[in-house]
Symmetry: C2
Subunit: 272 residues, 2 copies
């Protein structure tokens, strides 16, 4: 069967979207559609333009016999800004306030459309970096870590604060929670991270950064390093932040329990 | 700007894939591309054929003024069978064995390509059903629940076995673990599930089904009901299974710690 261009473009779009950062050779597509490589090249030019115009991502073509095409997620500022604005409004709803100034978050974290978009943003931010894994700490960071990892096409590594019997030998460290100053323990299954890995740290919330600092210490136990830190929400007005370099989607400036007022603004995603 | 068909098809593919089960009117597409509705109709016919041929999913068109097109994930048996076979082989690697006959799973559960494909399978199986939410229990079921929910375009509800201070009021139940016969507690934030919801239960592993049975009891506290149960792995040779109707991807028949042999076969996904 020979494919028409229109049919090829539909299937190629789906194929590229499902294989981010994979190098796909023109030969692969040529055989898949029983088409000439020159036609596939033309297809890719069309795909590239639409992907860029619509903020789907960028297609990088690598010439030569070992070459091909790679799809990288890339978000557009004018598409993401309204999303962030909407998220700020969602977060500022007073109903969200719980005793002690905590915020109920499951309606946001539980929405796959939101976690997926945040994952796209994080993957886009770090798409030029060499990344071997995304790391997070159980449990609220998990959906964001998977959404990001899916777009980066790398595995997820989950740090725990409790020992699970089903993980085999673990490496544990003690760390100081930045806000409560308490000493806590976090651990990672030895099998779950290769020595020397380059890791993107993802979490839902960062206050002083104690937990994230703990993950960085844990990485050094694996001779691994972090290439970046990405959080959904950062809490502003933290006196001694333990983490300097990070990217955030939104910033929580103030939670006034008495007045039932939550103040949220755009994070540093587009400024840092 | 007027769009060419080839360009429209690329963007429509991406748009449909990102909006599963949403009704998208032809007017929406016609305005988006500055095209005649008749051209959009023709586009959809082409999309429909390729989506079906390639196992991307099915497009259902609803005629009339309030009509449009809906994309449903639908997997093809000949594409999924090799995936399941591969998963069985991965699971049978003796390295995976931990003391007590537990299996190390994070390399599988931590792979977004795998969780995504399992999510596609689960969403495909229940795509005809009316579903309001996907429910799972923390923590290993979370990635599968999100992958499924993303394709069903519904929120995720996470049951916990420990109380989190940041969830507000919770509803808790006691349940009996099917294998250990111990009484345990699970809880769900009151805010996280609407009364009367129709819920798909997703988990990574089912032995006797105690945990899943617990989730069903919890649902009744919300006057909610389950429309289905989907697990990645079922353990075979369970004498008194508490759950009758479920779908599984793979079946773990035997774990021989002494001989270091794990026996895994295809689950009931294609037979039930």
């Amino acid at each position: 069967m020979s494919w028409k261009r229109s049919e090829r473009l539909i299937d190629m779009t789906n194929y590229l979207l499902s294989h981010p950062r994979d190098l796909i050779s023109l030969t692969f597509f040529a055989e898949r559609y029983n088409a000439a490589k020159s036609s596939i090249s033309e297809d890719i030019t069309i795909l590239k333009d639409v992907f860029e115009l619509q903020g789907i991502g960028k297609l990088i073509t690598i010439p030569g016999a070992a070459g091909g095409v790679k799809y990288f997620v890339q978000v557009k500022e004018d598409q993401v800004k309204p999303f962030i604005k909407n998220l700020c409004e969602l977060l500022a709803v007073p109903d969200r306030l719980l005793p002690g100034g905590y915020l109920y978050m499951q309606d946001i974290i539980g929405n796959p459309q939101i976690t997926d978009q945040v994952g796209r943003m994080f993957a886009s931010k770090f798409s030029d970096q060499e990344i071997d894994a995304v790391m997070t700490v159980a449990t609220k960071g998990i959906p964001l870590a998977y959404a990001t990892a899916r777009y980066l096409n790398v595995p997820v590594v989950i740090v725990r604060k409790d020992t699970k019997v089903t993980e085999g030998s673990t490496v544990s460290i003690n760390y100081v929670s930045g806000s409560t100053k308490r000493i806590q323990t976090m651990l990672l299954a030895r099998k779950s991270l290769k020595e020397g890995s380059r890791v993107l740290i993802v979490d839902d919330f960062m206050k002083a950064g104690g937990t994230i600092n703990g993950m960085i210490s844990l990485l050094s136990e694996f001779n691994a390093s972090h290439v970046g830190i990405a959080v959904l929400i950062e809490a502003e007005e933290v006196e001694d932040r333990l983490v300097e370099q990070y990217t955030s989607v939104v910033k929580l400036s103030n939670v006034d329990v008495r007045e039932k007022k939550i103040t949220v603004s755009e994070g540093n995603y587009f400024t840092k």
